[in-house]
Amino acid sequence: MGQAFSFAGIFSKLWGVQKEIRILILGLDGAGKTTVLYRLQLGEVVTTKPTIGFNVETLKYKNLTLNIWDLGGQTSIRPYWRCYYSNTAAIIFVVDSTDKDRIDIACKELHTMLKEEELQDSALLVFANKQDQAGAMTAAEVSQALNLTDLKDRSWSIVASSAIKGEGLTEGLDWLMDVIKDEQL
């Protein structure tokens, strides 16, 4: 019995099937987190309302089972993010690239969050979202505004995206899967 169990364990590690991977989508309100989530899961754009609380969806991606949590970004809900940090493999941080006024707040929230002990081993993917809109900052600009280069001991990447058009999302997720596979196996 014990042997069978460990066999299964080894297989699952080898092929990465059984294990569920927990991913959090965070970011300020109106950044497009829910749209990203459902674009990834359903492949289409859904109309969304401000998320009071969270949405959670499971999706299969390249033989991996992803458990994606989209937490609401309103000020009143941000304090609750930390309740969902444990066992998180990766964080997708979505930024509204057109919202120059609040990019500082986004930066602050991001760095506060990354200081949490439970997230020390999580990978970070930043979507510089809403690239379809005029006046959006480029990925490089966003990266600079968020001080991403200051991050040490963490795999991170920034991808320019448009959830509405579906651009950049798969690229980002592909990078994330590679990192997770490397780290977990």
Binding site: R22, I52, G53, F54, V56, T65, Y84, N87
Partner: protein, 938 residues
Amino acid sequence: MSTSTYKKQDAYASSGNLPDKMAIFQECLQQFNASPVNAKKCRQLLAKLLRLIYHGEQFPSQESTTLFFSISKLFQHKDSSLRQLVYLTIKELSSTSDDILMVTSSIMRDIQGGDIIYKPNAIRTLSKVLDSTTVNAAERLFKNAIVDKNPVISSAALISSYNLLPNSKEVVKRFTNETLESIQSHKVFPSNQFQLHEFYGNSTSKLPTTSYMYQYHALGLLYHLRNHDKMALMKLITSLSEGSALKNSLSIIQLIKYIHKILIEDEALIGHLYPILAAFLKHKSDMVELEACKTLVSLQHLIKDDQFMAIINTLQKLLGVPRTATRFAAIRLINKISVKHPEKILVVNSELEGLINDENRSISTLAITTLLKTMGAGTIDTGSVGGESVDRLISKMTSLMGEITEDFKIVIIEAIENLALKFPAKHKKLVSFLTDLLRDDGTLPLKTSIVNALFDLIKFLPDAGAKQLILMNLCEFIEDCEFAELSVRILHLLGDEGPHTTNPSYYIRHIYNRLVLENSIVRSSAIIALAKFAAVCGGHVSKNIQILLSRCLNDADDEVRDRAALSLKFIKANHKNFVVSDSKYDLASLESKLTHYLNDESNFDTKFDISEVPLLTSEELKSIEYNRKINKLDSGVTESSDAVGNEDRGKESGDKLSAGDSLSNDLLKQQEYSQELSAIPEFADYGTLSKSTITPVYLTERENEFVVTVIKHFFIDSQKLVLQYNITNTLPRSVLQDISVIAQPDNELYEEDFIIPISELKPDQSGDVYVSFSTPSITDGDILVAFGNTVAYTNKDVIDEEGNVDQRDDGWSDEYQIDDLEVSAGDFETPLYNSNFTAVYDQLDNTDSSVVTISGVDTLDNAITRLKTSLNLMPLDGSDFVPSDATSHVLKLLGKDVWGGKVAVMARLALTGGKVVAKIEAKSETETFSSIITSGAY
């Protein structure tokens, strides 16, 4: 062996020990946070957790929060049974965890697109999670769920909306159209609903396709959205009662209850609403029929005789159904009718007789007590025939008495007593029934109730022969009575009543036997009883008793010796009033005076003045007791009929009850007034308050900008009348200042002395304006008056939240005319009881008579109530009961006027052409007062 197997099979044994709270808590955290989630394990854990919560276990708020967040993680799993349990648990945790809003989005998603299995649960949980800031986001969801084709979802949404009312009424109001649509729609359970469970798997065809329960829920919600708008409510009722709009019987019952509420508030609507109620008298659900009957019975004063028959027919049918609860409800209603209109239910007598042997004790008790009442009515209506039926019933009961338990006997005894009181002519049969019962074996409570009944009969039966008969039976009883407390009470009564009978020596012999045979307690009361005979009868009786008493001076017991010595001393010194007294202090006012005295130590400098406590003559005392007796009979009915509209009408019915409660309450109230008035220096030299009207009269609508009530205070000795206007400011944004009332008398003999105004009334405050008048004396003849009333005040607007006004604002003065106030003959009278009306009536001189039409009433019953209350006299000889088919009636009223004289009124009423005409003959001890009575308008 046997005990242990029993234990194992006991259904409750498995639920014996609750799981350990902390162990469950830890396991929950572990399992719920695991990845991947094991749905089956989590389901079992949630079930255990729920069991703890349902048992009243509570988690401290921090644990509760942790628990909540770990449960919220279960939303990642799609298992619908797990989700269902998650919702149940979150609903329970919602009261203790502050962070409940975190699941809002997830729940809303489930309601939009989730599985039908947990959708209703999700809706119910959502209503707990929402607060006033998030409720708007859910508006669309609720609207969709209310009109959902699935009745289970619709019901869940309707009930949840109802639960949202306290916090977000404005949002729920917007659901009105959807709710209306839902109530009129036809929703069936989805056909696969039951197949989901293996238990129902094969038998779907036998299951109902719908319960229409959503109609009940929708109706409840609609009522709460509309109950402040009478017109809208009437429209709703009319539309729902047409055809068979409502199919669910609970919803029909609820509709009937709402109709009842409306009718209580506005009786004039009976014309519109009666046909609706009558239609429900014939319905396939007995509950609906019962509810319709109940409502109509509680409004019986509004219903015509032929309409009444429809109710009786329905009830008669319901008496025969197999279901015990229905039979009980039906007979209870019949019993209620019998209190007021026994003649109307004569038709069901044969059914009632059958029910005497019903296996259900409550039903048979009600059957007997009801029969006792209808028999009484029968006697009056049909003479000898009814008399026979009383005999039949009594013989039936005598045979039954052997088989039934004591509680039941006590109920029957009370019923017989009431019957004897209401129909004194039948007393002989009933008294002998009671005394026979007294002779049989029985415990103390049974004997006490019989003795109580006999005591009341002695007090209130007009016939001296009846009195004698009961006394003799009681004498016989104490010869062989094992209960000392009963012997003592009977001896006391013999002492009070015996001396006034034709042969006191008969009783003396019996009492003396007690002195020889009984224990010391009975002996000492026997001494006092004997002393009363000596004091009242005097002559040779007194001498003989003195001999008897002096023998007791050697008694072994201290108390007996003391009482004997004291009594002898009083008798010899001829201090009759020390032994027997005609009057008693009013105990309620004595108590309140004493408490008042003891509460303030500064009072202790002066002696307690007992003369301030009203002294009641034995006649007045009897009035109080008689009133209490009669009211006890009726109050049972009033209370239960009030049950429906209680929260709205609690206050009013409270007023009604206390008004009818008893004279002793009135005395207390009067004392309060006199204390209030004596605290005002202007009234200091007015002397004692003779009489105040007890119930305040409303001079405005109760919903007016300011509400005015008035109480009349009469100071007969100093010829003053003080009108106390109580004014309440109901304007939320205005302060009223310098408020006074201008009262314009239409009788020149009344002269205004002064007005004490109110300086200021803030919103929701109330205060009193006093207006004092000098009145004519009774010898002037014309003491009746009507006052035209005008309120004068200065109005200022409130400018800030504390309710202050702008100091520079002078406000504006205004005057407002309110209703007139009449001083009628009734204001000078109090009710009085006497068991022999005719004797009193014949003694009084100063006769006057007049013929009047009693305005605004169309039945004899209402006319009697009108006369009784406007004259404020006591109806005697049961003359306030009218058989419903009678067209003429004689009402006998007795009372006392404020000048101390008796007043008797004989009113011959006749019903002609929908009007009630009365010939009022008034007699009074006080000269000219009888003409005042007859000159009043009714």
